[in-house]
Amino acid sequence: MTDELAWIVQAQHGNSEAFTQLVEAYQTPVYNLCYRMLGEAELAEDAAQETFLKAYQNLTRYDRERSFATWLLSIAAHHCIDKLRRRRFISVSIDEDEEGQTDLPDRSAPDPELETQRKQERDRLQTLLQSLDPLDRAAVVMRYWQDCSEAEIARSLKLTIPAVKSRLHRARKALAELWKDEPARIRTQRRPYESPAF
């Protein structure tokens, strides 16, 4: 039995210490999903805490055949989608993002200038993400931040695999449209085909 499974079994028997181990293990992916979905550190913290509370309350219903991470992310995604549908609109401030987040340029990177450019692009992407439909946003975050497969995303968001593919395509095209139309204030000189990562 793996550590994770042991913690799950103990937590299912009411051991809150074991559940805390699970919280420690999954706090970053859950918080990241909430942050990318909601766009604000404070809201993300609250949503991530709520996600773990919901998971704790419904732990007896968790099917051990499923991936625990996918199950948790599914709860987080649905919680955030509900919040977004209730609020309809979220305004995101880049200043707030820079103050509240740990997503800062890595000064120790071999090319600090490139790292700063990437950081600007990440900020820009985070801003553009907020314009997507909540379900599309959840699919993009799970695919690119959490590295989930299309099948896992489909199971988590209660969609079919073709629907996930279609949503990912649509979302990236929408992001590209916005990316293109965005004022050139953050746009860098570098073209994507000049990047070593391309």
């Binding site: 942050y35 007896t60 740990t102 990440r122 990316w179």
Partner: protein, 174 residues
């Protein structure tokens, strides 16, 4: 140059061979739409996970304890209200009886005794009738009907027990 295959390559986001990469690079210099899509792909691949502030699990424990407390309080309040309303209803329903008992306890006792005797007599009569029916019915109803009745009863009980287990499954922290 045809735009379609390049957009499909970018959306599929799969590795390209040298020839395809060369063709795509040439296309990207001329096509703003595809260049934007390529930039978005690149930005999505260079993303980093945001981490919560330190002490997340400690804050979770505090929140969990607070929620447990609220749920316990809600349960106690709910149970107390239920008990109070049950006692109030009982008193309200038995109020005429209580008044009669205080006014003339002997006549009330006599009426209770006569009701008890009548109930006992009807029980005895029902017993006699059921014994008679049990003697007559098994011969009238075929065996397969009895089997069907037993099976239906068994199935119904299983469904009932299963539903009860499902309904009464307790959530944690409650």
């Amino acid at each position: 140059m045809n735009h379609r295959p390049f957009e499909d390559w970018l959306l599929a986001d799969e590795p390209l061979n040298a020839q395809q990469t060369h063709e795509l690079q040439a296309h990207l210099q001329a096509c703003r739409d595809c260049a934007a899509l390529a930039e978005v792909n690149l930005a999505l691949k260079s993303v980093r996970a945001a981490s919560p502030a330190d002490g997340f699990s400690a804050r979770f424990q505090v929140r969990l304890e607070a929620q447990k407390k609220v749920l316990r309080l809600r349960n106690v309040t709910g149970f107390s209200l239920l008990a109070l309303s049950a006692v109030s209803t009982l008193v309200w329903l038995s109020w005429p009886l209580l008044t009669a008992a205080f006014e003339s306890p002997v006549s009330l006792l006599a009426s209770w005794l006569s009701a008890l005797v009548a109930f006992w007599a009807s029980l005895q009569a029902m017993g006699q009738v059921s014994t008679l029916l049990l003697r007559v019915f098994p011969d009238l109803i075929p065996a397969y009907v009895w089997l069907a009745i037993l099976l239906a009863g068994g199935g119904w009980s299983v469904v009932w027990v299963f539903s009860l287990i499902k309904i009464t499954k307790k959530q944690q922290g409650v």
